[in-house]
Amino acid sequence: MKNDYYRKPLLVVLMGLLLVFNSCELVEYSPYQVKLKESEKDLNRKNAEKIAALGLKPTDTLRIALISDTQRFYDETEDFVQAINQRTEQKGHKIHFVLHGGDISDFGLLEEYRWQHQILKKLKMPYLVVLGNHDCVANGDKVYANMYGPFEQVYQFARNRLILLNTNTMEFTEDIVRLDFLENNLRDTENYDNVIVLAHVSPFDEDYDRKKEAPYAQLIRQYRAYPLHGHKHTHRIMQPYNDGINYMIIGSVSNRRYVELTIVGKKITHEVVDF
């Protein structure tokens, strides 16, 4: 038969097409699929290793850029990357890494995580992301776990400790503000000079578990931690507990604004930068 002549090449072409579709992200099985490439996995750990490789010494000035709530703000996130990449090139103004306060996605979809990473990987410095409430929606928490790692994480760069905590109490049925984890990583005060706690929902937010508010604030106060939060989109600094501890709401990237932390010894200062 005449048509048999075409059958084999057609099959080969089809198989080839399938391979091509698969490799260039043209194939979507479900918006909720959790199928990552090796290069998209475990990014916080990989990026923390890059920061560690900088070999920061306790006497070095450490600069960290803070952003948050970039969900569905691709244009602004793109502009942020450009702004920060220019800023870090200025003489004596090296920014060592970027901290993201959560809500990297709006609908908790792998695609959204991926689109954000495709922008943020253009940063000239590593970045770390904490889990936000939107990031948990549908299979989002599973995407985060695969892409950025556990919901609670701890890192140390020179004498600066960094604790990432899950405070999205609306999204979990289990008891999630892991105050035990927080305290265990705060207790050894002799090993650090500064400790930053990065958590998406602030303890004084209406979306935070009231039962966990006072004990959280107590730990922050006791160990003189530096709390950073996202969730609310307007940048703010306040002392809700009148205990000398400033709580910072980083603010959404949609306001075209980021915060730059400068750490010299035991002193942390911040500057709000518009772009």
Partner: protein, 202 residues
């Protein structure tokens, strides 16, 4: 949130009324009872499962087709696979008859409404969320698509399968479209996906 529910309901009703009409304009084979499907479909990808399959109906002089599909997506990195039920309606306005029993339908335009089954997917959000906290539902997705199809006659008369069709679709889903519309720097290619399917036409 109510607005979204209304849109979904309208979408669902639209599919149902279209299906209802399939009963009296059964052009592909009038001698068969209305409830017997006009074709069977198997599709690869397209946001409705890695593989999806099911029966379908043809009506409006074979210009409209509605397929009812069950789709399956493996868990990959996680333990839970995703089960998706989809109703999909496509409009084929043009037919080009080619040699050797080939038929080209150069335009295939349609919309699917899919339902993802699972405790992590909500149609109405649990009570502990304030009203309108999240404005969308996670269980239902709308999947618009654009494509083409080609079919070939393989049997006639009493043959069970009369034509075999191959189709491809470029599609997206509502949440991706919303993301695209809000941004200038998100390339359109990012929100598009390709699906391939085949139909056995009875």
């Amino acid at each position: 949130m109510n607005k979204i529910r209304k849109i979904l309901l309208v979408g669902l009703l639209l599919h149902m009324t279209i299906l209802g009409k399939a009963q009296d304009s059964h052009t592909s084979n009038t001698s068969r009872p209305w409830y017997l499907p006009d074709h069977a479909v198997m599709q690869f990808a397209g946001n409705i499962g890695l593989l999806s399959a099911g029966p379908g109906y043809s009506y409006a002089r074979d210009k409209m087709q509605t397929d009812i599909l069950y789709g399956f997506t493996p868990g990959f990195e996680i333990n839970t696979s995703i089960h998706i039920l989809t109703a999909k309606t496509a409009y084929h306005p043009f037919k080009v008859e080619l040699k050797n029993g080939y038929l080209l339908e150069p335009l295939r335009l349609g919309l699917g409404i899919s339902y993802s089954v699972g405790h992590q997917f909500y149609t109405t959000w649990p009570e502990h969320y304030p009203d309108g906290y999240y404005w969308w539902t996670t269980s239902f997705r709308l999947t618009p698509f654009l494509g083409a199809s080609i079919s070939r006659q393989v049997g006639s008369g009493n043959a069970a399968i009369k034509r075999v069709q191959l189709y491809s679709e470029l599609g997206s889903h509502d949440l991706a479209v919303v993301s695209f519309l809000n941004n200038k720097k998100l390339p359109v290619g990012r929100i598009l996906n390709l699906a391939l399917g085949t139909k056995l036409i009875f």
